[in-house]
Symmetry: C2
Subunit: 588 residues, 2 copies
Amino acid sequence: MSSHPASGNASLAALRAPFPASRRTYTEGTQPCVRVPVREIQLSTGECISVDDTTGAYGDPAVPIDLQRGLPALRTDWIAARSSAIPDAPRPAAHGGDALQRPPRRLHAGQTQLALARRGIVTPEMEWAALRERGSSHPRAEVTPEFVRGEIAAGRAILPVSVNHPEAEPMLIGRSFRVKVNANIGTSALGSGIEEEVEKLLWALRWGADTVMDLSTGKHIHATRDWILRNSPVPIGTVPLYQALENAGGVAEQLTWEVFRDTLIEQAHQGVDYFTIHAGLRLPFVPLTAQRITGIVSRGGAIMAGWCVAHHEESFLYTHFDEICELLAAYDIAISLGDGLRPGCTADANDEAQMAELRTLGELAERAWAHGVQVMIEGPGHVPLHLIEENMRAEERHCHHAPFYTLGPLVTDIAAGHDHIASAIGAAMIAWQGSAMLCYVTPKEHLGLPDKDDVRAGLTAYRIAAHAADLAKGLPGSRARDDAMSRARFEFRWRDQFALALDPDTAQRFHDATLPKEAAKSAHFCSMCGPRFCSMRISQQVRDFAAARGISPEDALHAGMAEKSAQFAAEGSQLYIPLHAETKENAQ
Amino acid sequence: MSSHPASGNASLAALRAPFPASRRTYTEGTQPCVRVPVREIQLSTGECISVDDTTGAYGDPAVPIDLQRGLPALRTDWIAARSSAIPDAPRPAAHGGDALQRPPRRLHAGQTQLALARRGIVTPEMEWAALRERGSSHPRAEVTPEFVRGEIAAGRAILPVSVNHPEAEPMLIGRSFRVKVNANIGTSALGSGIEEEVEKLLWALRWGADTVMDLSTGKHIHATRDWILRNSPVPIGTVPLYQALENAGGVAEQLTWEVFRDTLIEQAHQGVDYFTIHAGLRLPFVPLTAQRITGIVSRGGAIMAGWCVAHHEESFLYTHFDEICELLAAYDIAISLGDGLRPGCTADANDEAQMAELRTLGELAERAWAHGVQVMIEGPGHVPLHLIEENMRAEERHCHHAPFYTLGPLVTDIAAGHDHIASAIGAAMIAWQGSAMLCYVTPKEHLGLPDKDDVRAGLTAYRIAAHAADLAKGLPGSRARDDAMSRARFEFRWRDQFALALDPDTAQRFHDATLPKEAAKSAHFCSMCGPRFCSMRISQQVRDFAAARGISPEDALHAGMAEKSAQFAAEGSQLYIPLHAETKENAQ
């Protein structure tokens, strides 16, 4: 074992610690081994709110975890039935666990989730993913396995778990489902190592990443990916061009189709679940960027533009697209069609370069579907608020409703240091309009490499944006947690509020900063108005006043005013919070 | 001098330190003493971006500042011409500076900005405010003083600077102008003192508050306000009901019109610029809240609902509304019609309670206008994304296009600890739809009292939201700073990027965390891709390649492919960043 990520244990401990008042349960399916993790938030009222749980085996205290061995390969049996081992494939040297003993596999023909869905087959993965989407206390009756199958067959959703990532738990990316969030991690030439990236993976799982992209460049790119894959219960995406460039000596002109293809095979054998491939950036589109303020900002896009200009040839990703698809179909790797010409500033948004590429992505989506390959479409970038809806509509029109996977967008360019906020605004908007997955942006965007704090800040901002979109789309069940939180607020159930928050730690820490004592957790006031006067309390008293008299609040006000007024005045002190010894103690 | 806020000096030093590459200049008007502060950001290219500057005298290194004496009373002469002193008014005992020597004043009849605007008079305040709105490098040609006068006369904008706050610099709140941001500060029964609040005021000015509301409750409410007013160059708002409640012994039933009126007069004499008054919460609307999840969450709303229910009488704020307006007209205090029935959770948004009150606010706006009182309308609260536009349209329809002043709205209820983000999403949306001023929400919302860090975090999130809305509304000039930032990014002018950022400190700190050395400030790469490969750099090279040959990028690609390809390949290494000694040094 060359480099054991021992320091991953810090994040590991955090990841394995349950959130307050939460416990891991499972929803069992009808097919064998379909056992979907659910986080149950247990409230002091006895009520229970179930939420999706992306932490896999880490979230189950009964499962032993060993980062060197990797996670349990829960999809092994399903995969075995559809695939054959490739016994002579070279094995990676970087990882010493069980996974190493497992040779990579190839699917038999016509066995991708898309191909199966089209033939009317509901796979165990589809049933699993359907149960996951129903994992809320107000189940979405319509999210049946058959509904999921139909969405995948129509290309409106993808289920990106590859044949060589049996540790991954099935999930869906599609506009009919909960909006998902991707977290980017990865080493770069300037810093970060394998241990740090495994830490970030675990940390990203803690804060709710639905998928993780490993964007490593520089050294140890293969080994880093191996560690990430073997320890990830969520789908892993990559941009294979980054490694292909390393393999070509870092010189874009020296890239060849063969180098790229070999990289795809290497990563396919490792088990990457989806590949970002910038095949829509064609030679004729490069000049369209010349008048832009920020030209080409996608790294993959810039590499391919450099290659196209150097060779004065059409992109090999475009000319070899069918071969790419054949290869991906053999491993059920989804393709995320990269937007190499995404705008790098609000001024460049929705320009002809972007739209020309988007139309090409639509053409490529149809070609990929013909090969049975699942497809999503990547989107901007930087887009001012008023152009976001137009962007989404263009994607639907040109790309035939393939799931849109958007980076932000950032709605202003001047928020450096806070671009997780500037982009969460755009992300919420575009997700409401239909984007299926949001690629997070951290506070370090444009400035530096994200550390663990940045990963957490980015994910938190994006979970807020994604959930806001789910609410606005009216997804049944999406309101349950909000409404439970609102009731807990109204009733001053502080511990329930912390438990229901997306970030319970911060919520409790902020509360305790003003009211640190234990008794304040059950105090019927909050620090904003103090103990003597509280609007929520008065609302409750107004309501109680009506209820105690067995009359509706309407009646209480419109009938018998004089009599009731006298009564109420006599009990007037009940309108305000008695200064109990307990609350006095906390009023500092 | 009872309590000198000496510790205010920490924030004071921060406030007085210029932002990087920035200097204070002034734009002179045609009327006497119209001299509008502007912050000029000087870029390394020689370009200069002018941005609005809310720091008043603090931002001018040539002006001595003494918190005990207060700011220069710059509007004294203009006010003198329209008003008379009230020599026998009681003087506050809490403040020892020059301002103490100045008796409060009352306007002569018909001298409010609204009354003057209607008579076709362009006041110096209007000219000042117009110049402020033009204070960008792409002047809005149409924002003339006459245009400003017209907007005020029509009630579509307010210029909230009262007769007794001569230190305040004129500014506009209206949908034709830049979206403004308000920061709430204020002592509460549980903590915080005068010194801390003055610190927060100065800190809020540093981070761009356009107005500040002093929501103090508890002790020293008068003295705190005095300190804040005498040291604030931005308009100050209050909720007079909070102090009236203190004056009524903290018991809502014991509130009377007389106690409330006396509070208004006291605060009018001190110089408050706008009052939030919850006069639209009428007795018949209270029962409409009984079925809500969170009832009444506005503190002012809850106080008045408590009063109405206790007395079974119509709200004295509603029945005495004309007297309130007469009083406000005498000091040119704007009225911010409070939304006592704003929704406290997304489930309660846009319900009949909220709409009934909103219609009443529209009726009251017309009554206030009849008295020459400037009006804005307060709005929610908690609203899911898909109901925000409906909210804005309802305000316009019912309130006759009076400026909308919205708190958030929060687009989900489960973001406790990060509600500045959850609400910045809603704030950007509603401001794009037309809201004129955004009341910030800090990360401590729902949990505790905001400290200085929270004030900064809230303001930063809201400046992002407000600016995103300005961009989306297409306000001429709003793009200049973004485009300058984008050009600086493309050209790797790091220092220019820091200077142009809304928060230069954080931008530089984050950059330096990855690339701390001085030379990295001019390095032609960023830490995301490292020195060896950079998309921006490649874009530039693609562009340079075309330009060097005297041909358009289009031609470079479509004509003479073979010859140019050979040329380009020979110069291939130029596509990538040479690893100069300098950059190597920084590649750690």
